[in-house]
């Protein structure tokens, strides 16, 4: 009975995650466009904005690493993070790493011609890396859910 319930809840968690992650990835990246279109100054509101982005980045990174669903029991989370999910996550991290490296190379080239602050550079690399990993993980999970 308990095992059946765990399977149903793991299925529910997988579906929610597959729906939410690509949306979160797009939101995470698009929100940063606002930051880059109007760079932060030294006002209180800018510090709050940056602080919120940093917290969101840590939460997204933890969600990617652990599979999220922290309100579910451990047995459900373990089932939802089964073999296929772990492979999807590894692939997502690979994409995220590659995207971050491409961002680093692009930034290096840009800084040859334009000054670029180190905090802005870190912001950009983190956003690209985490955003790409979120998108890839979400898309792989959605594809796996098709016809399920």
């Amino acid at each position: 009975m308990n095992s059946k319930s765990d399977a149903a809840r793991a299925e529910e968690l997988s579906r929610k995650r597959a729906r939410a992650l690509p949306v979160l990835g797009v939101l995470f990246i698009s929100q940063q466009l606002v930051f880059f279109s109007s760079p932060a100054r030294d006002r209180m509101v800018d510090h709050v904005h940056i602080g919120a982005w940093l917290i969101l980045s840590v939460v997204m990174l933890l969600a990617l690493t652990t599979g999220g669903g922290w309100i579910y029991p451990r047995s459900v989370r373990q089932l939802a993070n089964d073999e296929a999910t772990r492979v999807h996550r590894d692939d997502a991290f690979r994409y995220g790493f590659l995207a971050a490296m491409v961002a680093c190379i692009a930034l290096y080239v840009v800084t040859l011609f334009e000054p670029f602050g180190e905090r802005e550079a870190i912001h950009l690399i983190l956003t690209v890396g985490i955003g790409m990993a979120l998108l890839r993980f979400g898309l792989l999970e959605r594809r796996a859910m098709r016809d399920a």
């Binding site: 399977a7 793991a10 089964d82 999970e141 796996a144």
Partner: protein, 68 residues
């Protein structure tokens, strides 16, 4: 031509009268994983392949084969 792992999972599961969810529960994975193995989207580990064969009561080589 690259090697690819094929399977008769859907056919043997249907013959056994099991749904994807029931088979998934027997081997301790989600329905999504069974679905991706059936659709050749995901290549299972040796451990999962053996568990699937055991759950369907067939030898693993009857369930999976390599095509070159």
């Amino acid at each position: 031509m690259p090697e690819r792992l094929y399977n008769r999972l859907k056919e043997l599961r249907t013959e056994a009268g099991l749904t994807q969810a029931e088979l998934a529960e027997r081997v301790g994975v989600t329905r999504k994983t069974v679905n991706t193995v059936e659709n050749l989207v995901f290549t299972p580990s040796a451990l999962l392949a053996l568990k699937l064969a055991e759950a369907l009561n067939v030898p693993v080589e009857e369930l999976f084969w390599i095509e070159r």
